[in-house]
Symmetry: D2
Subunit: 403 residues, 4 copies
Amino acid sequence: MGTPHRFCDVRNLTETLAEPLGPEDQTVQSMADVSPTKWHRAHVTWFFEEFVLGPTIESYGVFHPQYSYLFNSYYEAVGPRHPRARRGAVSRPTVDDVTAYRRAVDVAMIDMLDAGVDDEVAALVELGLHHEQQHQELLLMDAKHVLSQSVLDPVYRKGGAPNPHDDRPVGWIEHDGGLVEIGAEEHAFAYDNELPRHRVHLEPFALADRPVTCGEWLEFIDDGGYERPELWLSDGWAEVCAGTFDAPMYWRDDGDWSVFTLHGRVPLDPQEPVCHVSYYEADAFAQWAGARLPTEAEWEVVASQYTDGPDFDTERLHPVAAGPEPEFFGRVWEWTSSSYSPYPGFRPGPGAIGEYNGKFMVGQQVLRGGCCATPPGHIRSTYRNFFPPPARWAFSGLRLARD
Amino acid sequence: MGTPHRFCDVRNLTETLAEPLGPEDQTVQSMADVSPTKWHRAHVTWFFEEFVLGPTIESYGVFHPQYSYLFNSYYEAVGPRHPRARRGAVSRPTVDDVTAYRRAVDVAMIDMLDAGVDDEVAALVELGLHHEQQHQELLLMDAKHVLSQSVLDPVYRKGGAPNPHDDRPVGWIEHDGGLVEIGAEEHAFAYDNELPRHRVHLEPFALADRPVTCGEWLEFIDDGGYERPELWLSDGWAEVCAGTFDAPMYWRDDGDWSVFTLHGRVPLDPQEPVCHVSYYEADAFAQWAGARLPTEAEWEVVASQYTDGPDFDTERLHPVAAGPEPEFFGRVWEWTSSSYSPYPGFRPGPGAIGEYNGKFMVGQQVLRGGCCATPPGHIRSTYRNFFPPPARWAFSGLRLARD
Amino acid sequence: MGTPHRFCDVRNLTETLAEPLGPEDQTVQSMADVSPTKWHRAHVTWFFEEFVLGPTIESYGVFHPQYSYLFNSYYEAVGPRHPRARRGAVSRPTVDDVTAYRRAVDVAMIDMLDAGVDDEVAALVELGLHHEQQHQELLLMDAKHVLSQSVLDPVYRKGGAPNPHDDRPVGWIEHDGGLVEIGAEEHAFAYDNELPRHRVHLEPFALADRPVTCGEWLEFIDDGGYERPELWLSDGWAEVCAGTFDAPMYWRDDGDWSVFTLHGRVPLDPQEPVCHVSYYEADAFAQWAGARLPTEAEWEVVASQYTDGPDFDTERLHPVAAGPEPEFFGRVWEWTSSSYSPYPGFRPGPGAIGEYNGKFMVGQQVLRGGCCATPPGHIRSTYRNFFPPPARWAFSGLRLARD
Amino acid sequence: MGTPHRFCDVRNLTETLAEPLGPEDQTVQSMADVSPTKWHRAHVTWFFEEFVLGPTIESYGVFHPQYSYLFNSYYEAVGPRHPRARRGAVSRPTVDDVTAYRRAVDVAMIDMLDAGVDDEVAALVELGLHHEQQHQELLLMDAKHVLSQSVLDPVYRKGGAPNPHDDRPVGWIEHDGGLVEIGAEEHAFAYDNELPRHRVHLEPFALADRPVTCGEWLEFIDDGGYERPELWLSDGWAEVCAGTFDAPMYWRDDGDWSVFTLHGRVPLDPQEPVCHVSYYEADAFAQWAGARLPTEAEWEVVASQYTDGPDFDTERLHPVAAGPEPEFFGRVWEWTSSSYSPYPGFRPGPGAIGEYNGKFMVGQQVLRGGCCATPPGHIRSTYRNFFPPPARWAFSGLRLARD
């Protein structure tokens, strides 16, 4: 934790992920929720400058006096900042400028780490690395959205070779309910929102042993899933009526269904987990299937018994079909019916760092499991991802539950 | 339940509440969330026509063929309907037309009830009466918003005489937590969203024995409550920055603070419960106070030990200050930190009636307790009211909790 | 001019026109451009109070201290005012309150006029009466829009009996062009925007001898008029693509075409002038017809040779078909290709009154001719009406011109 | 006209102007009105491909089948196209791809021109070159807006050295009015909107002999110009109240006034023509100065007597102060009081090319004179530029007139 070696590994992975993206790709903000690649690369760097180097190294001089304004995401305590929805309106600093910024901060960080740091600083470095890993996934999902805007169907990276697999029916894992424990243990790294570990009472339930597949989603579409208001939450149906969606994001029907991926546009594979659906769609599908979405406690208590998932693979940034065994990790983020709220006894961190999680605890739903674009170390059974119900540009799918 | 006598009582109360409102007052829709008084009066009538008289009395002919289009609120299964945000654009039918509609449906209903109905119909009548009571409160809060739009500060009804009371510090009710039960019992009337009764595990906590007062809110304002981002949820702070609020709704500072009520504009009483605050404001206040909002389970398990509250009084439609004893009911609706979601094992009713509650179970927070404008029979410890986090035109206040 | 008799005539006509409208009708604001009837009735009254009684009668006390805030339309020099788009959000003062206001101001005005006034005051009274007449037409077109919002197709006043007429082909009136004079003479009443009379050079042109009819518009629709971008101005085509219009306002196609009028919904009469079209539609029609819209100078120089039109008739507030002779007045306002701009040498009036016309001289098109809802005295060949290009709720039609 | 040499000159100038802009700069769309540099470079290329090469060279194969979709600006007759406001959402094709596209089309064009073309094709080539010159100015004003979004105040090109000049009071050029002729002669190149030459009658007037300066605008600001509603058109005052502007675009007051230019941020020079003001501001200034804006006919009839202006200079893309003589060209575009409408007898070109000008003839004001960013050949006394009244990102200033 906090070693120069680990620091370089994480930082280098960001650059590896950005490498297939040219200056144009790294500049575009295709919607307000998306940030440009070069912004991600600079923002995670600013995090180290603002929260580690600045407070720790007395002689440290910031790389550029305006970068705090440009690359602060949402830390009110730090000062004013460039409006989020206007990140794509700024052509300067350029991609090369950002590369230089990253290098300068890396040098200072490695110097500091080589010299040794106390536990408090080490913890901040560790938080900064986890923060950067989170942005690695954001970088990928944002870049996918950017590339998808062009009728040219650009390819981020060739690959994503076919993934041979058999048709595999869903199985159900039963659980007796009762008093269970969820949340992170204190000894390993976890975000504040995963704490404290606490007890929850559950009624008996069953959980599907794999996510819903594209083939199952096609049945939902064919059965009028997007045309039957009785299946939908009221807000979701309003989106359908407004024409916001009639299939998962990135799907296209030209006679045959295809799907846009980071490896270009490919034919839809019915065995793969369905991906890029909103909470509204996930809930409607569950209604249609005569089931429901799991709560996050139900999900965690079952998933914590399983640990294997496919490795993070920069050559394959697309969810693979489930194998023969139950699996919970590394394919798609799975919407739960739990809104994102504090665990009993939740305490945010001190100072500006405390703005990390708690202030988003309203109006969002929890997702669990990690996806094909989640870097190593960000997949664990207690991890709580969250998005607003209409969001679809994350690698978000679902798993069914029933009483 | 379902007797002609009870039917008339509920129906007449609606007319009593509408009586101080002239045709102009009954027509205006002051924002999209508000419905005109005449619409409320007609909509609850249509409910009986659509769900009781039509299916039950074979020979029943609807009062007007277009009223289903005009007065259906949100039942997708029933057919197309007038857009909600345009209810105030329609001058016809007039208030007198609506009165005639109400009378005609009342006559048919009373004939039917006099002749006797089976249990299933009786249950639908009961649901219709509870539905009308819900709209009685909506009518009042909507009318208050309408009247508040005029610089003339119109008076709905004179009264609301001073409410003598002493300054009263907050007390704390402690609870050991553990496995508790919440939700309605099956034998009394309850909405589907209060069911089923089920177990929840709680950590130890304490609950304030009265709602937060206006005087305490003034301290919050004076201490920069609306100017300190660290107190706020991110979405709430965005509203503050957009200028949406800097004090509770209906408050005005002309040197001295006054508040608009259904009894006109009056000086602010520091002892009264604060009212007309959003979830964002309630949460920020709790942060400021070093406390938090209770979960709905915490609230219910404590409140169910208390039952007294002030009687519903059409002469005093404004929250009264708490007395010396702990109280939980009939002053203001109290925001909880719980999002509005289904209880384990929740089952919506069949058919169109099933659209009553479940389809709103996302993006809203639960409020508990009932307020000064809540009619008798709508105040109970298991009752779950819900509004989106920015809403303020309900009589919404808060109570503090702490670990 | 300015006599008590004339004063009463104009004021009484306003009340006659409002009489079929109940309190609900008089309160609704069906879109931002529309004002409630009760607002019109109060605003024209405030004009006399603010600009005549207040400055003239030293002892005059305003009827209500807040009415200036509520009923000032747009006079910045007078002070702050209620937002235009929120006029329909205000239920108080009521219709009866407005009636009392009108009576009080009438009494004061008649006392003053009986006592005799100097020329300057007489001119302000005359301006106030013309102002009220303008609002009489606005009241009618706004009330029509309000009533049209209800699926009940309400009837403002029974009548509008069939208007027997023969099919009548269009004729063309040729003009040699050259140096002509337009604008009002100084000796009769005219608005500042009609002044000064000045010379304009015209190329030879021809003008149709009647407005375009509904029958001709049906041919336009049948020939794909709303589907062919090459006919449309760019901004107009954007509106078509946005679904804003596909036929004149108030038209409906249920197999047969009908049209909503102040006399209820009636079958479309192909001989009647087409009405309630936007400038964009008028221009597209002219393109389709191989013609163009006239300039206001072309229109005026020809129309000034004709004076007859149908009388203003409160029993028939719908345009009648053209007779056998050329006619220019009292059916529909006719869009011209001239934008609304100052005549050479234009001088606005002094003080607040000067805000009457000049400040609207951008982004609007001139209409000429007067319509079936234009009161006597507001139809003259030099009169310049104006609306923004997308507006359709005025009684706006068109007449063709060609080189 | 239409020679390979001229073709290369114009095409090369575009590349020269784009050269200081990196891939990031060329990709950003900073507001809906702005187009990315790479889009401009591709769009003008597509114009030659679509309207010249395709129809002329039978064997011509388009460079890429999707480029017509991506780079058609507004030609409805050509087919569907990428939405204008989303041009900045597309990262591909890249800047290099666009360069390759330009080269391929240049080769085909030069081959064709070398082989000789008939008059009709030559006229289309000429139109294409004028079209590209128009976009050269748009490229510069758009790039200026893009660069201005960054707090880094990026420099497009160093330079814009001080321009020594004396303080110079305004002089007035008087004109007797009467019947004059405006519009282009048939023998030289002109857009369809400059035709036909025709007679206009003018009243006597005087025109300032130079544009309004920054120093004069500072006086306007200091005299409360942005705070006095009586100076403003109603729509303009609404913008002021909405906070849209309180000084010309690109001005900033940090104690001293500075202005953002293509040469970076520089101190405000009071002698320079004021630039980047909207029509509303120009009109308000004229009111304040006791003058008015000229009509386009007044402007043209006087300006046609003068021809000199500063040369187009890529080292100085900022308006220079007026010299001692009257001047009308090459500093700032000057707002006129004339709305953009067809001249009497106007005929748009045939086919898709006919969409070039006529369909924008509503809701815009004419500007005259050409500016520092206008390439050679686009400055002439009959040239009609046009923008909507709120637009400010063009190099738009004003000149006063009076009766």
